[in-house]
Each structure stands twice: as structure tokens, then as C-alpha cells.
């Protein structure tokens, strides 16, 4: 028995299918005017990778600055602009669209047996909005940047800085609409475009979690939009809604902002959880343990996610009664995440586990997400929140969720579906190495920050007391390793586009409908509309299929 499930076709005879979504049409215009979800996903993949590396470069600058206690690499205002742009680019231009707009866009229609998303033009529009917003953000950065922090806290952002708040706000506003359209498209598609036999409880869990995330996008993002409009009005003509000098309440801004921005963290993590459900099932050859619980926990997170926003404001002087309620609800929202972790762990039970790259990233996700989730409880509990909030503890916490969780899941997904997307495999050994390097680099970068936060080092500091230096040096060293871990995939994935082995339709022998079509898929995904006649993750059905094929040949 070999220790891998990878099953590639005979390389001497195998060919990439002549007709696929990439070769269907040629020329730049055929890409820029496409309605094909897979091409739009490809456009998204290229653009978010670009923004990820911009955001990553800014993160590198932050870590370099923090190597020494003094603000010596850059002036404090430059540092403030750097971390602001790092936050804005990473959140609005990488994390929010990362899995949904790339993997989700690429896979969702195939997973439910549809030819395309319900609204292909809206899908394309959402990419153009994203690009317009991205260009605006880069323009902002080039013309002096912005130093409000990604949270745009009033009255700082409205009356006390003279950087490009308006253009940044506009960029975020437009990016918000891009994300609304993606979410809206997903919801419509999942409701209306499922193939015959694809009942709700036969949907892959990736679809469930993207559905939950889409709900958040559709319901949460508009509140951010109106908040930004009010900020812009406040800043330009001073309407006074958030200005205490005119009788406004800056806390109201916090309420409206976090009404979106807390659900936004679930927008960022839920699709990643979907990826993990797919990979962990495939590489343990087993149906996800407690499918229904995992599916419902996604929806539960989405719904509860709307009731907890004020936990970002515990020390801001909101009413203590509200603090109690929001803290209690925060504790409740932690439960579905715990359920998911244990269900994934038990999916391995009695499985037949192999350790290909996506699975390594998945293990990384599970460990880091557990730490990130548990430290979230430290912050949800009001008592410890007082000490830990606004310090590096919270920085470490959300990086464990966002980078350790979401980015690991994103990379797991990219490696998992890469052969489907391009028709070629990447080199396995080096990609496993990259996964391990990423994991080590990540822990070295962010674990010391928990200790820094407990010691009280505030976030967004360009200079800090010298006794914190040792841990900061660790963190910067880890960031360097992490950087290598992220550069490696770019290199070998690009290499694989031309030199990778031909993957065939189903290299992982996975059960999803997307694996039952050719790689790369056809423009309308399937030759004929599939009919779902089995449950999701039905490996026995798959075995059955293979036997059939063998006998029919």
C-alpha cells in the first residue's frame, strides 16, 4: 500500500484536455469581458495574490521597524500609515475576498452541478469593483497614505488627521460593494442553481460555509457602507453625527462600524472552514464526522456573529448591562467553532489518512485555529479583556485566526484544487516543505506576541519600551521565515503551470462533483448536467464508480 492517494494518469499518454475554460477563447478581451465564473476566479486569484504581497511587504516593514525599540527605520507617522494600509489591504483586499471570490467562485457552481453562477455579469462587475477599489487604495498609498488605522476611529478620522481618509473610505466602500455582489450571487446560486438531486444536505460543506459567509456579506456590508458615507460627510461638511463637539456620539460610530466588522471576521474565516471540511474528508477517505452539525454550526456562527459586535467596545464606556449581554453572546458564538474543531478531529477516526500538502496545511489550520479561538475567549471574557485588549495579545489572537486559520485554509484549498484549476500537479516534496516552513514561521512570528500582549505592549506602537525587544526580535525573525513560506508556493505553483505533471480529472480521488469533470474544466463545467444520486463525501459511491469504469473499459 503506498502512502499516498494521489492517482495520476500515465504521464506518457496523458494530455491536458484541448478544450477547457482557459483555451476556449484567446486574447485579453476574452478574459476582461468574460462571464465564466472560472475565468473570473482566475482574475481574482491573480489580483488578490498581488494585493497579498503588497500587504505582506507592508507587514515586513512593520516587523523591521519593530526590530528595535526606537522608531528608527521610519518616522512614527510613516509607521502609522504602513500598519493602516497593511490592515486595509489585508482585510478588504485579501481576506474578505480570498476564499469566496477565488475558490468559491471557481468551485461553487461545479460543486452544486451548475453551469455558472446565477449572475455572471454581476460576478464580473464585482471583480471590476474590486480592481477599481484596489487601484484607488494603491493610489491613496502612493499619494501620501492614510493613518487612521483600518478601524477609522472617529473623531480621529474625521477631524484630527489630514491624510487621504476620503479616498481610502471610497476604496473600502467600493470593495464593500464588490463583496456584497459576490455574496448575493452565491446565495442566489445556491438556492436556485442546484442540479437535480442536490438537496441541501447533499451540499459539500464548503458550499454551506460559503453560504453562511455570503449571508454575512449581504447583511453586514451595507452598514459599513453607510458608516463610511457618514464619515465622509462628517469630514467634508462636518455634519456632526459622530462629533461630540456638535452633540454627536463617537460611540455610535463604533456600533455601526463593528456591526459590519465583527461579522466580517466570520466572512473571513467561514469559507476557510469550508476548505478544511473538504480536505480533511478527502485525505482521510471519510465522510465528515457529523455532517449536519458542521453544516449547522456554520449557519449558527453566521447568525450569532451578528449579535456580538459590541465586544470590541467593552472598555469604551458602553453600558455595563450591554457589556454583560454581549459578553454572554460572545461565549455562545465560540461554541460552534469548538464543535467544528472536534468534528474535524473525529473525521480522522478510523479513516485512512495520507499526508499530502493540503492535509499538512489542514493540520496547521486546526492547531492554530484552536489557539486563536481559545485566545478569543480570553478577550470575550470581560475581566481579562480589560487587560488584554488593545495590546499585542489581540494582534496575536486575530493573526492566529486570520493568518493561522484563514491563510492556512486558503493555501490548503489552493493546493487541493490547483490540479483541478490548471490540470497540473505541483511538486509534492517542496510544497510539503513550504507547509512546514509556514507553520514554523507563523508560530515564531505570532506566539511571542501573546506574551508581549500579556506584558502590556500596546498595538500600533512605532516605538516601545526596551524590555520588549527580545520577543519582538523573535517575532521579526519568524516573519522572515514566514515570508519564505509564502514565496515558495508562488514559485513552484508558477513552475507547475508549465512543467507540472498532468493531474487528470481526479488526482485525490475526491467525491465532489467538481472532481467528476475534466481538469481544467470546460467553460460550462459539465458535458451534461449532473444528477446527484448520492450523499456528499460518499467514498463507497466513488469506489463503485471506479469499478464500473474498469469493467466498462
Amino acid at each position: 500500500m503506498s502512502s499516498t492517494i494521489v492517482n495520476l494518469p500515465d504521464q506518457s499518454t496523458a494530455r491536458i484536455p484541448k478544450v477547457n475554460f482557459i483555451t476556449k477563447e484567446n486574447g485579453l478581451l476574452s478574459w476582461l469581458l468574460t462571464g465564466d465564473h472560472k475565468r473570473i476566479a482566475t482574475l481574482y486569484l491573480i489580483s488578490i495574490t498581488f494585493f497579498f504581497f503588497i500587504g505582506g511587504a507592508l507587514a515586513g516593514l512593520i516587523r523591521l521597524e519593530l526590530l528595535t525599540p526606537q522608531a528608527d527605520l521610519m518616522a512614527t507617522d510613516t509607521y502609522n500609515k504602513v500598519f493602516t494600509m497593511h490592515g486595509i489591504i489585508m482585510i478588504f483586499f485579501f481576506l474578505v475576498p480570498s476564499v469566496p471570490a477565488t475558490l468559491g467562485n471557481f468551485l461553487m457552481p461545479m460543486m452544486i452541478g451548475a453551469k455558472d453562477l446565477a449572475l455572471p455579469k454581476i460576478n464580473l462587475l464585482s471583480w471590476y469593483l474590486y480592481i477599481a477599489a484596489g487601484i484607488l487604495a494603491i493610489y491613496t498609498m502612493a499619494t501620501g497614505g492614510v493613518d487612521t488605522g483600518w478601524t477609522f476611529t472617529t473623531p480621529l478620522s474625521t477631524h484630527y488627521v489630514n491624510t487621504n481618509v476620503l479616498t481610502t473610505g471610497l476604496a473600502v466602500f467600493i470593495a464593500g460593494f464588490s463583496s456584497i455582489f459576490t455574496g448575493l450571487n452565491f446565495i442566489v446560486t445556491i438556492h436556485k442553481m442546484r442540479c437535480p438531486g442536490m438537496t441541501w444536505f447533499r451540499l459539500p460543506l464548503f458550499v454551506w460555509s460559503n453560504y453562511a459567509a455570503s449571508l454575512l456579506m449581504v447583511l453586514g456590508t451595507p452598514v459599513l457602507a453607510i458608516t463610511i458615507v457618514l464619515i465622509a460627510l462628517e469630514r467634508t461638511i462636518g455634519i456632526g453625527v459622530f462629533d461630540p463637539a456638535k452633540g454627536g456620539d463617537p460611540i455610535l460610530f463604533q456600533h455601526l462600524f463593528w456591526f459590519y466588522s465583527h461579522p466580517a471576521v466570520y466572512i473571513m474565516i467561514l469559507p476557510g472552514m469550508g476548505v478544511i471540511s473538504e480536505t480533511i474528508s478527502t485525505f482521510s477517505r471519510k465522510r465528515v464526522f457529523g455532517y449536519t452539525a458542521v453544516a449547522f454550526s456554520s449557519v449558527a456562527i453566521a447568525i450569532f456573529g451578528f449579535f456580538v459586535w459590541a465586544h470590541h467596545m467593552f472598555i469604551m464606556g458602553i453600558s455595563n448591562y450591554a457589556v454583560l449581554v454581549f459578553s454572554l453572546l460572545t461565549m455562545l458564538v465560540a461554541v460552534p467553532s469548538a464543535i467544528k474543531i472536534f468534528n474535524w478531529a473525529f473525521t480522522l477516526y478510523k479513516g485512512s489518512i495520507t499526508f499530502e500538502t493540503p492535509m499538512l496545511y489542514t493540520f496547521g489550520f486546526m492547531g492554530l485555529f484552536t489557539i486563536g479561538g481559545m485566545t478569543g475567549v480570553f478577550l470575550g471574557s470581560t475581566g481579562t479583556d480589560i487587560h488584554l485588549t488593545e495590546t499585542y495579545f489581540i494582534v496575536a489572537h486575530f493573526h492566529f485566526i486570520m493568518v493561522g486559520g484563514m491563510l492556512m485554509a486558503f493555501l490548503a484549498g489552493i493546493h487541493f484544487w490547483w490540479p483541478k484549476w490548471t490540470g497540473r500537479m505541483y511538486p509534492e516534496k517542496i510544497s510539503q516543505l513550504a507547509a512546514v516552513v509556514t507553520f514554523i514561521g507563523f508560530n515564531l512570528t505570532f506566539f511571542p506576541q501573546f506574551i508581549l500582549g500579556t506584558l502590556g505592549m500596546p498595538r500600533r506602537y512605532a516605538a516601545y519600551p526596551p524590555e520588549f525587544q527580545v520577543l519582538n526580535v523573535f517575532s521579526t525573525a519568524g516573519a522572515t521565515i514566514l515570508g519564505v513560506g509564502y514565496l515558495l508556493p508562488i514559485l513552484y505553483l508558477t513552475w507547475s503551470l508549465k512543467y507540472g505533471e498532468i493531474a487528470g480529472n481526479n488526482p485525490w480521488q475526491a467525491t465532489g462533483l467538481e472532481w467528476q469533470t475534466q481538469s481544467p474544466p470546460l467553460t460550462e463545467n459539465f458535458l451534461v448536467t449532473p444528477i446527484m444520486d448520492h450523499e456528499a463525501y460518499d467514498y463507497e459511491w466513488l469506489e463503485h464508480q471506479k469499478e464500473k469504469e474498469v469493467t466498462s473499459v
Binding site: M1, S3, N80, L156, G317, Y349
Partner: protein, 362 residues
């Protein structure tokens, strides 16, 4: 060791010698919060170990070499219920425990001494009742509950003392409070933790905890001569507050003696406790806080009094124990120099110095 570069060597030495992993506990609430913190660390470690143990043991037991054919298991309601209910129970324990500490930190005891703190870009100004001013530092005695009344002059700031495990945002337009009881003399970090603009990272200072004797000495040395309440008294006079707020029969404004802490009935029918926040609001937005039986004729002082001015007015009104003082301010313009103010009763009836306009912004 000559082949190791001096900088790296220096770094390694530093690493070996001073490398704090946990902040000092210097307040009464700190050990309590740390108990919860370590409980949570423990739970997290147990949880993480459990997950890691499950994943590794399953990975070894059921790797493809050992276990070539997967056995399909649908799920287990019992197991799933277990890992729903146990975390939920633990989280609820943390919720209750955390809330108890939260309420402790933000509920100052009645006998605490009050220090006002004004945050502005980018400094902290502390105003002691005895008239001591400090910038970016705070001197407090051990063994006494110290309440901070915080406000910001411009943007959100956050007053954080990690060694005390307390933190509170200073927000514009409203007082917030926090309290602590220092236990260990020493010098501790004071940070602004809410991002507040360019020099956010320079908005730091030190909290000096002293023994009560040292503290008394410090108070004597650094007094500015007039207490906060006396400043307030001058302001009260110079803004002609006493024209209405006096004890005479038929005065147009309510008598302010002993008003602090009392329950007031407002003209709109509501009742309110006259606390710092109420007093501040009544100065700046009087029409919403008119006491029953009075006409809404008081002008607003928004834009005429600085936050420090409001603080001294509030402190003055707080310490008004008799009509005598109002009458006195009504009639006196030049008074005897100030005798020493004790920290406990900073505004003990005493004469005030010549009225200064320093607190009044034009």
C-alpha cells in the same frame, strides 16, 4: 567567543538576563485577574493538547499504511453533545468569572480618592484634587483605592497600566471611570493603547506607586498652591455662576451645596443622580438637565470652559458642603492665600487666592 558578532553577543546576553514573560502584579485586582487568566490558559492548554493528541494519535493509528480502508462513521450525537456542552459550560464559567472582575474594576468603592485624567494628543494630564498637576505620569499611594475620572479633549485615548491590569478608554465628551488599589511601590508603565494619531506611541508615561508617607511628601513638594476645588471656585466666580446659583431666596438657579450625589428630579419628570457626568453635562448642555422648579435659562458653557476648567468646577461643586462658600464667592474677590490642602479633603473650607482667568478659554 570572538567569532560571534558583538551585537549578537549583546543580544544573547540580554536574552539570558532580562526577558520578562509576565507583567508585575502591583494592584489588588491584578492577582484576581491573573487567576482567571491562568485558569483560561489552563483550559486552553488542555483543549489544545486534546486536539493535538486526537489529531496525532488518529494520524498514527489510521494512517493509510496501517489502516488502508476507511470505516465510514456517520457521527455520534452523544460525542457531539459532549463537545458542545463541555465547552459551553467552561465558557459560561469564564463569562461569569470575567464579569465579576469587570464589575470590580469599573465600580469604584465609595471611599476612593479621585484623580482626574485628561487625555489629549499626545499626553496625559493628571489633576490631583490638591492641585498637583502631572503630565505623563501619575503618583499614587499604596493601600488606597484610587479612582480615575477620565476624559479626552480630542480623540479616543486609552489609559492603560498593565501592572495594575486596568485600562479604560478616555473618550471625548464623556467621563469614564476606573479604579485600582496599588499594592507594591515602584514605577510602572503607563500606555495609551487606543490609536490616537501620529505620536500615539509617544503617549506613554509612568505610574509611580509610593508608600503613603512618600506620597504625602510628594504631594507637599509638588503642590501648585491652589487646590483643584479652589481653581473651580475662582472659575465659578469669574463665570458669574454665583449670580444664579446662590443660596438666596428666589435664586434663579438651584443651590449647589450638598448637591453632589443627591437624587434630583428633572423638569421633564425624570430623576437623576448628580454625579460627575451629570454636573459636566449640566454645565455644557444645561437645557437637558434642568432641575424641577427652575426655568431653562442657564446658558451653555460649551466652548468657553476647557475640560480642565470643567473638572475644577465639578470638583468645586462636589466639595460644596455649605452655603457659606457660595456666599463667600459671591462677595469676595481677593482672599487670603491658601493654607495647605490635605489630599483627603482637598477643598476644606478655606480662603482662596486672587482670582485668575487662567482656566477660562476665550
Amino acid at each position: 567567543m570572538s567569532h560571534i558578532s558583538p551585537i549578537l553577543w549583546q543580544f544573547l546576553v540580554k536574552w539570558m538576563t532580562s526577558f520578562p514573560l509576565f507583567p508585575p502584579e502591583a494592584s489588588k485586582v491584578a492577582p484576581e485577574m491573573d487567576a482567571l487568566f491562568f485558569f483560561m490558559v489552563l483550559v486552553s492548554l488542555v483543549g489544545l493538547t486534546l486536539v493535538v493528541l486526537l489529531v496525532t494519535s488518529f494520524s498514527i493509528l489510521y494512517s493509510k499504511e496501517r489502516h488502508p480502508v476507511a470505516v465510514q462513521v456517520e457521527g455520534s450525537t452523544l460525542l457531539e453533545a459532549t463537545w458542545t456542552i463541555i465547552p459551553l459550560g467552561l465558557f459560561l464559567v469564564m463569562f461569569v468569572w470575567g464579569s465579576i472582575i469587570y464589575f470590580r474594576v469599573y465600580t469604584p468603592p465609595a471611599n476612593s480618592m479621585n484623580i482626574y485624567v485628561v487625555g489629549k494628543q499626545w499626553m496625559w494630564k493628571a489633576e490631583h484634587p490638591g492641585g498637583q498637576h502631572e503630565i505623563n505620569s501619575l503618583h499614587v499611594p499604596t493601600g488606597r483605592a484610587v479612582q480615575l475620572t477620565l476624559i479626552s479633549q480630542d480623540v479616543f485615548h486609552s489609559f492603560s497600566i498593565p501592572a495594575f491590569r486596568v485600562k479604560r478608554e478616555a473618550i471625548p465628551g464623556r467621563y469614564t471611570t476606573v479604579w485600582f488599589e496599588p499594592t507594591v511601590p515602584g514605577t510602572y508603565h503607563l500606555f495609551c493603547t487606543q490609536y490616537c494619531g501620529t505620536n500615539h506611541s509617544a503617549m506613554i508615561g509612568e505610574v509611580v506607586v509610593m508608600t503613603p508617607d512618600d506620597y504625602k511628601k510628594w504631594l507637599d513638594e509638588s503642590t501648585s498652591g491652589t487646590s483643584l476645588a479652589q481653581n473651580g471656585e475662582r472659575l465659578f466666580a469669574s463665570l458669574s455662576c454665583n449670580a444664579c446659583h446662590n443660596a438666596s431666596a428666589g435664586a434663579r438657579g438651584p443651590n449647589l451645596a450638598n448637591i453632589y450625589g443627591s437624587k434630583l428630579t428633572l423638569s421633564n419628570g425624570g430623576t437623576v443622580t448628580a454625579d460627575d457626568a451629570y454636573l459636566r453635562e449640566s454645565i455644557l448642555n444645561p437645557s437637558q438637565h434642568v432641575t424641577e422648579g427652575y426655568a431653562p435659562i442657564m446658558p451653555t458653557y460649551q466652548g468657553q470652559v476647557s475640560e480642565e476648567g470643567v473638572i475644577s468646577l465639578v470638583e468645586f461643586i462636589k466639595n460644596l458642603n455649605s452655603d457659606y462658600r457660595i456666599q463667600q464667592t459671591l462677595n469676595t474677590t481677593d482672599l487670603l492665600p491658601e493654607s495647605e490642602a490635605s489630599p483627603n479633603r482637598p477643598a476644606a473650607p478655606a480662603a482662596t487666592g486672587p482670582a485668575k482667568q487662567g482656566m477660562v478659554k476665550q
